[in-house]
Symmetry: C2
């Protein structure tokens, strides 16, 4: 499933569609929307309606050459993609720090752990220690199903894999321990519903913390 | 004080010094360090020591042309700086969402409000409504003094200015209502000390909220 983009960066992420302010209009056929586009529209919806303040972080770029033509905008003439040190999304929701990454898989019965990079897992570990609310948003593209899966459980599977366990998380496990994210008209991906359900389990004493 | 970079973006922010992973070594003379460089080193120190997870967001870039040479990294050939929708820094500290921006001024007796853009102030408003901990880090370069100044007070001054009040915040006000940030060897700018003091005033019932 993992498409090998140079430097691990998907060029499609840099199109205007990746910018909430330039996002596609609501008339765009839902079927063609990427997970990232749906998330950006949802985040914009949440900001506009005052429900949360969450953004996708820009992809870090290493600038090499920048021209400054007179009376017009600076032009980047040579630059390279850098690997981010963090996950892609973070923000604040009702006093909570939210931190997550979004992944799609074409698989039908499990989510391959190789969709995550070690630096993302390490970032989750650090944020969890600071009592952040951390999770993955996992879409099974062919099944049209999207789940919130707590980072603590993802880390558990990641560490088990390093000790020889399976290199993927079964869909059944994600369905059991994760939270369904509903698709709607607005926001297209109402993940705060799943966040609320997840927070409720934590408040009930569910132990998703990582020691 | 406001230097007019194309698109309002300071090209110096894109140098390796702006990347925590490539930041200058501790042997660098402190005197030559910029506020941003000190913050990046401090954030790296906080992440390493497990005290907090805070990063500067990359500057958003609008890609126009990207080459993909075989067997080597993608090269950005044409791109433009975009204006960020948020402040530069955010992250998590002991369960709290922290959000701030850093500004330097050469002024001796006041901080000009024009150092802030409306979109940054609006972002602060939204984050405060979500109970985020929001502030400005303001450095009086010539005085070698740096302060944490609560966003709610900044917003108050900003709104008053729109109604005809003064277009700057007096240093004396910042000294009275803000919190001194100490310069150290490591971290170079120990702003969590000031955050702790600020949080203590909030817990004591100080009303820095914006209605």
């Amino acid at each position: 499933m993992a498409i090998k983009y140079p430097n691990g960066v998907n060029p499609a992420r840099h199109t205007p569609a990746g910018n909430p302010q330039l996002s596609t209009t609501p008339s765009t056929a839902k079927r063609g929307m990427t997970l990232e586009s749906e998330l950006n529209q949802s985040n914009q919806y949440y900001v506009t309606t005052g429900q949360a303040v969450i953004y996708k972080k820009p992809t870090p770029i290493q600038l090499v050459k920048v021209d400054y033509p007179k009376r017009s905008a600076a032009v980047v003439k040579e630059a390279y993609f850098r690997r981010p040190s963090t996950t892609d999304y973070n923000g604040v929701y009702r006093g909570k720090y939210l931190d997550f990454d979004a992944k799609e898989t074409q698989h039908l019965t499990s989510f391959p752990l190789k969709n995550f990079h070690k630096h993302q897992i390490d970032h989750f570990r650090r944020c969890l220690k600071q009592a952040g609310i951390c999770f993955a948003i996992i879409r099974f593209t062919k099944l049209h199903q999207t789940y919130l899966y707590p980072a603590a459980l993802l880390i558990k599977a990641w560490d088990a894999q390093a000790n020889g366990a399976r290199k993927s998380i079964p869909l059944s496990t994600i369905q059991q321990d994760g939270f369904v994210i509903p698709n709607r008209l607005a926001p297209p991906l109402d993940y705060l519903v799943a966040v609320d359900q997840y927070l409720a389990t934590i408040n009930l004493g569910g132990s998703h913390e990582v020691k």
